[in-house]
């Protein structure tokens, strides 16, 4: 069902935890659907110097959170905004079709944290103009 990469990130997730006084915090998902992702960012000079996550969710939710943090750590905001759910899924060696929504959630969580950062710092991030972190990624 899951690739080795997914299992690796599920059983040894990178960057789990919280960042105290994070520069940006984003949470997406909803407990009814069985997954919530929360991302914490430390940003210095437009670079994401640290990132942590907490996830309530299935194996692939945890693995995609972990992979997303790895892909973004050390990147500029500009670069981070280019992270797509597909890229996360691909980096994990693929996800089962029914689990693709987890990768969407990971992408959303990063964006939500960046949005929080932009708001806190009064920065306008063009690419997040239409982004709504409360929007539901599940097609109910």
């Amino acid at each position: 069902m899951y690739s080795e990469k997914v299992m690796d990130h599920f059983s040894n997730p990178r960057n789990v935890g919280e960042i105290e006084n994070a520069d940006g915090v984003g949470q997406v998902g909803n407990p009814k659907c069985g997954d919530i992702m929360k991302m914490y960012l430390k940003i210095e000079d437009d670079v994401i110097v640290d990132i942590k996550f907490k996830t309530f969710g299935c194996g692939s939710a945890i693995a995609t959170s972990s992979m997303a943090t790895e892909l973004i750590k050390g990147k500029t905001i500009e670069e981070a905004l280019k992270l797509t759910n597909k890229a996360v899924a691909e980096a994990l060696g693929g996800l089962p079709p029914v689990k693709m929504h987890c990768s969407v959630l990971a992408e959303q969580a990063v964006k939500a944290a960046l949005l929080d950062y932009s708001k806190k710092n009064g920065i306008e991030i063009e690419q997040l103009k239409d982004f709504d972190p409360d929007e539901d990624v599940h097609e109910h």
């Binding site: 659907c33 309530f56 689990k99 109910h140």
Partner: protein
Amino acid sequence: MVKNVYMDNAATTPVKKEVLDEMLPYFTEKYGNPSSIYRLGREGKAAIDDSRNKVANAIGANPKEIYFTSGGSEADNWAIKGVAFANKKKGNHIITSKVEHHGILHTCEYLERNGFDVTYLDVDENGIVDLKELEEAITDKTILISIMFANNEIGTIQPVKEIGEIAKKNGVFFHTDGVQAVGKIEIDVDDLNIDMLSMSAHKIYGPKGIGALYIRKGVKIHPHIHGGAQEKNRRAGTENVPSIVGFAKAIEMACENIDEHNKKLIKLRDKLIKDIANNISHVKLNGHPEKRLSNNVNFSFEFIEGEALLLSLDMVGVAGSSGSACTSGSLDPSHVLLSIGLPHEIAHGSLRLSLGDFNTEEEVDYVVENLITIVDRLRKMSPLYENVKEDK
């Protein structure tokens, strides 16, 4: 050190050696078609007759009332659709419950799309239907009541005898899905007023792909598979002789020492329940505390999700199952857990451990030890748990 601990016996069981041994000759030596008149065919026929007797014996039925099927789902489908279509002139109303197996629920939904009305009875927080509600739901259009004997997820046992009496009193056929109950609860179809009973072999150490429907003489029901004259013209297809023989052996073994088996299972079950409840916080036992299958343990672990729990258990060699939506690829968690009133997020974090004849106390210890670690690890990752700790 990774152990192999199989605690998903409600999903399926291994075939016991004694069962397989009985089956083997029918693959390669006694392979004749039971409809044939030569020796090889007669041997197959005799094996089926003998098996039918054993299955009938196990539930206090007449062998003529036993019809072999390809498993529990087929038996469920047959009972529901067969009675519905055969009695539609009499009425188009069926009563069932919200906690049935999908083999019943999806069949009822199919009938709803085809002109039938179905009442889905609520259950209480333990998963039990209300007899008064049942009785009140019966109308002059009601042709069938189908309430499962024991629930596959939470193990709750329904008041089958009382339901049977209500059905009888009202002249309505009563079907019960006995897939989880057979071999764990003593069943006498006459005593319990059961008109139809679904059974499946692979839950009781028999092979997959074989089961039976008990159909009381006099029940008006359409044949399920049209064709050859097998199963008294009601279920066509060359008989699956090896599997029928295996099913019979399995049900015989399960029902022979039902009390002894249960005693062992209940001891393990109660230890597992106690050890989890005593060692892990924020847990909830699902299902009825007493009216419960001897092998069923079902807990909700708050703040974590079931699939993650299962995967983690798998990594230490423990096989269990979950009511999580994520295990099925759907979004809603188990309809059973929602029906007993669990909020979605708690239903998502449920774990079913179902015991079997091969489990040991050491295995229970091993599972609990690992559960403690796993739940702790997952909770530490969970943003929901964070808030709880803050609450404290």
